[in-house]
């Protein structure tokens, strides 16, 4: 085989070929890292929205609901959209990581663990910062997909009702306006578990666990204040 060294160096000189700059040779790798970081941030946001939706079912609510009702509500009102998008983000993150310069060296398990840990850690921070609850109301889309919490508290047949107290009728009843615009008469008693922060006054946003007693009549077994700035509260104002 002939020695190519002369032929190749001559070609380089004749065609004025020069080594590409560092930026040009590395831009693809940088682009994949930027894309990977964006995917992690998006994944973290999706995870924080899942936390927001799931943490709405606090232990006090779980206690007040019958176990069967709880599981039913849990599965019917799970944030499936965010769960699917989180899975898509983790998968895309894996694919993009593999495209980075040395991404091929790492096993599926290692990459998936790194992505999951980053997404979960940042997602928890986003949840603490409350960015997720502020963002949730601004995301366009049907409530049952984007904001499953909203629908969760509009199920009087399943024992959950949420809305704004619009009139205190007596020491043991008030009128509640739901997000749908229906007015419900809510009864409570000394046995009703009323959470500390709840003030029985007009304008208070509350979540109620109990039982439908008749047409637009609801018996409360537990009343809590709706999380401040939560989607239901803001949804009522819209």
């Amino acid at each position: 085989m002939e020695d190519f060294s002369k032929k190749i160096t001559e070609k380089i000189k004749e065609e004025h070929i020069l080594p590409d700059s560092k930026l040009k040779t590395h831009w693809r790798n940088y682009a994949f890292w930027v894309l990977f970081s964006l995917i992690i941030l998006l994944g973290a946001l999706f995870f924080s929205l899942i936390i927001l939706n799931v943490s709405d079912l606090s232990p006090e609510i779980i206690r007040s609901l019958k176990l069967r009702n709880f599981f039913f509500l849990f599965f019917v009102t799970m944030p499936y959209l965010w769960m699917v998008l989180l899975a898509v983000a983790i998968f895309s993150g894996f694919m993009v990581f593999r495209k980075t310069k040395r991404g091929y060296r790492y096993s599926l398990l290692f990459i998936a663990s790194i992505i999951a840990l980053s997404v979960f850690a940042i997602g928890v921070l986003v949840n603490f910062s409350k960015i997720n609850s502020r963002l949730e109301m601004d995301i366009p889309g049907p409530n049952n997909l984007v904001r499953p919490i909203v629908g969760r508290w509009q199920r009087p047949e399943d024992g959950l009702l949420g809305g704004e107290i619009i009139k205190i009728e007596s020491a043991q009843s008030f009128l509640l306006k739901t997000q749908k615009g229906d007015n419900w008469k809510v009864f409570y008693s000394a046995d009703t578990e009323i959470k500390r922060r709840v003030e029985m006054k007009e304008g208070e946003m509350v979540d109620i666990v109990g039982e439908k007693k008749g047409e637009y009549v609801f018996g409360a077994s537990a009343i809590r204040q709706a999380p401040l700035g939560g989607p239901r509260a803001r949804g009522m104002q819209k």
Binding site: D3, S5, T9, I12, P19, D20
Partner: protein, 195 residues
């Protein structure tokens, strides 16, 4: 720079010097062209002229990407990686299935001996055609890894960087390739011991 001095420099030193002096790059070409020629011949079905064209394309690519080389990899691994990708692109352009790549007799027997301990060496001589058929029936992805491991004598880490797959996948491909060879030999009633 004088040729004798260039010959004493390491690959990485030559890479650095080549960035400003294209004549130095000639030394890297001389060092690798034969090795790459054999490697490409083993992983492709191309004739000598085509391989020489591919080699020129590889060296021009390497020269253009000198700034993209980092010491994270050995230069030899990096150039094999580029060679493999360029060869696979060339195979795709010709639209021929890589499955049709045939190893030469000596290469096939070398891979075979690296994986199988035949009790009677005479058996190999008597059944060369069958052994060659078994080796050439191996799917491309196994054959390619076997070539790197047993003919190019690369380590698992080097193969991982050349084919851009995790080390576990490389090990699994070698193990599965070996298992396939043994199963086919057993089916043909060879007296064998796996290595």
């Amino acid at each position: 720079m004088e040729k004798s001095i260039e010959g004493k420099l390491t690959d990485n030193q030559l890479v650095e010097l080549s960035k400003t002096d294209s004549d130095v790059f000639g030394e890297l070409v001389s060092r690798y062209q034969n090795r790459l020629f054999h490697y490409i011949k083993r992983i492709s079905y191309f004739g000598n002229e085509d391989i020489e064209d591919i080699i020129q394309e590889i060296f021009i690519k390497v020269y253009k990407n000198l700034n993209g080389f980092d010491c994270d990899l050995a230069f030899s691994t990096w150039i094999y990686q580029i060679s493999r990708n360029t060869t696979i692109d060339a195979i795709r352009k010709k639209q021929v299935r890589p499955q049709s790549v045939q190893l030469e007799e000596d290469d096939s027997l070398k891979i075979f001996r690296s994986n199988v301990d035949i009790k009677n060496e005479l058996e190999i001589k008597e059944h060369v055609d069958e052994i060659l058929a078994i080796m050439n029936e191996l799917p491309y992805k196994y054959k390619e890894i076997m070539v790197l491991r047993f003919l190019e004598e690369k380590t698992y880490e080097e193969i991982m960087d050349i084919v851009e797959k995790p080390k576990g996948t490389v090990a699994a491909l070698i193990a599965r390739g070996r298992k396939m060879i043994l199963e086919k030999l057993e089916a043909k009633h060879f007296l064998i011991n796996p290595k």
